[in-house]
Symmetry: C2
Subunit: 209 residues, 2 copies
């Protein structure tokens, strides 16, 4: 059956699709061509009913009792998530974390490509970070519009994050991944996700005796 995009799908469901996609990519790398929903569920520590229900928002991807075709389901999920293309991404912040992100091997082939790096430190502007020349953060809004960039990663200190986010929004960015340990404010229609290791640690310490 074809894919039936449905923009009313709960965000919590959308949030699980990349997890399924990661598992499918891993299965494909292992040479597995078919996976039963119960085996996918076991691998992810979820119920198979949850997986089937999540996927049912987008069509029918498996025949009863036949399992999912790994490559087909992967391709369909890539289409649903709009990553059957490559998005250019701006990185703001060229410190230790910015370095780690700029060199991170996990973006390519998963829909994203860091295409420019910004910092506001005069000692860094104009210098190289790997394949990038570090650009002046003061040029953010203009440069983002020029390059038609819709997605950015913020890797600056907490006290600089809101100002950077404001510049990103001015420059037309609609999706922001924020590593700074601070909640930022954005207008409606702009999406923010947070990378905060402590949030994950606290979720686990709940279960420790």
């Amino acid at each position: 059956m074809g894919m039936l995009p449905d923009k009313a799908v709960p965000d919590i469901v959308i949030g699980r699709l990349p997890i399924y996609l990661r598992a499918l990519a891993h299965l494909e790398a292992e040479g597995q061509r078919i996976i039963a929903s119960k085996d996918l569920a076991k691998r992810l520590g979820m119920s198979s009913a949850q997986i089937r229900k999540d996927l049912s928002h987008f069509g029918e991807f498996g025949k009863q009792g036949m399992g999912y075709d790994v490559t087909y389901l992967r391709d369909q999920l890539r289409t649903v998530l709009n990553i059957d293309r490559r998005w250019d991404v701006a990185l703001v912040g060229a410190g230790d974390l910015g370095h780690a992100i700029a060199y991170y091997g996990g973006f390519e082939g998963r829909g994203f490509h860091i295409s420019c790096v910004f910092d506001n430190n005069p000692q860094k502007i104009g210098r190289r970070l790997g394949r990038f020349e570090i650009l002046d953060a003061i040029e953010l809004p203009a440069k983002l519009r020029e390059l038609d960039i819709r997605i950015a990663i913020v890797a600056v200190p907490a006290n600089a994050a809101q100002a950077v986010v404001d510049d990103l929004v001015t420059g037309g960015v609609k999706a922001i991944l924020n590593y700074a340990p601070i909640t930022v404010t954005v207008p409606a229609g702009v999406h923010v996700q947070y990378i905060d290791p402590v949030v994950h640690l606290q979720r686990m310490s709940y279960y420790l005796e």
Copy 2:
């Protein structure tokens, strides 16, 4: 009212408590002493009904129409999440990402303290990373048991992550924050959370035109 810990609370609810805690810490830093659930909800882009329902698992934290006492609720959530103490954390991997994590200012005061750093690269073992001497990863299980460490952060390449996780489990670790872009397998009773920037980017690209 007192806190009523309830280990049957859904993990998805537990996962939101650190988000509330972060917002409360921010409100307290701003000098706000009381917050209405609707204002907290607005700040977090959630419904106030969801917040009230989540918190109701643990007791009654606000009087009808009176809002929440910011400091009291923060302290109660810290107790629920077992971070009214400080957990020592092992960091495995002393590359760019390990550096960024070792220097990250967001752990202290939020329940966690990196207490040792490991790597398997002979060029790095014995050298310093900030306040740490980099320890040999071959000693992981023994050292973790000696230091009674229950929580670890994995910042190694994908192809090394499962072996590191196995050593962590052997060493008695029960909670693992994995930055490597790979799903790892652990026995029952061991918790894993993933830091994968692409998962967050994919969740947002769904909404982009």
